[in-house]
């Protein structure tokens, strides 16, 4: 298997979800870095325990109304 893609999903609210598929370790970070750089400012980064790897989660910070 040698399919390496980056999947970027963008909601109608303008929220982003980036996922690197088929990458391992540092390659994964490298694959998405240019998009993070282009689309926003990295405000925080932290490592999650492996068991949360597949957890689906998204944080919404609704502002205004």
């Amino acid at each position: 298997m040698n399919t390496r893609t980056v999947e970027l999903t963008i909601t109608p609210e303008g929220e982003l979800d980036i996922q690197a598929v088929g990458f391992h370790g540092a390659d994964c970070e490298q694959a998405t870095a240019f998009l993070e750089e282009a689309l926003g400012q990295v405000a925080g980064r932290h490592r999650k325990p492996e068991r949360f790897r597949r957890a689906q989660s998204r944080q919404h910070q609704g502002v205004g109304g």
Partner: protein, 150 residues
């Protein structure tokens, strides 16, 4: 007609770096805040929404209120969006949300505009690197970009 609360002009609301998203990346999670920094991508997003971008113009607000922007997104309703460059070279969006005029054209909190901005910015950056981009509109309104090697 709903009554307008507050003083004229109090409806101007700024947007800049207010949206945070958790990004999933293998076992890493990265919080990024979407920023508008590329006027070319913003123009492309506006073109897709059939909106015109003016340079160094005045945005129309409630009544006689006007707000000068480095750029102005001219909307079809009574109000516009002022786009102002900040010291860190990102852009702030400013508009009057009253009565849903602006929301109908660019989405709540500029959501639809930000969505298309991100689509065009990501597509441009990927192609610059010789990567292929496939764009797909999903039923729930999400846009998915598959970025890979050509």
């Amino acid at each position: 007609m709903p009554s307008r609360l507050g003083l004229p002009g109090s409806g101007w609301l700024a947007f800049n770096r207010q949206r945070s998203t958790i990004i999933k990346k293998m076992s890493h999670w990265t919080t990024i805040q979407t920023q508008i920094r590329d006027i070319v991508a913003l123009r492309a997003a506006c073109a897709e929404l059939n909106l015109t971008v003016l340079e160094n113009a005045e945005a129309r607000g409630y009544g006689t209120n006007r707000h000068r922007g480095d750029y102005v997104i001219r909307l079809n309703g009574p109000y516009d969006i002022a786009v102002t460059r900040q010291a860190d070279s990102s852009f702030t969006l400013l508009t009057d949300w009253w009565d849903g005029h602006v929301e109908r054209q660019v989405g709540r909190n500029f959501g639809r505009l930000l969505q298309l901005y991100a689509v065009h910015k990501a597509t441009h950056e990927a192609r610059k690197r010789g990567l292929s981009v496939q764009r797909k509109l999903l039923q729930n309104g999400n846009i998915k970009l598959n970025i890979g090697r050509i």
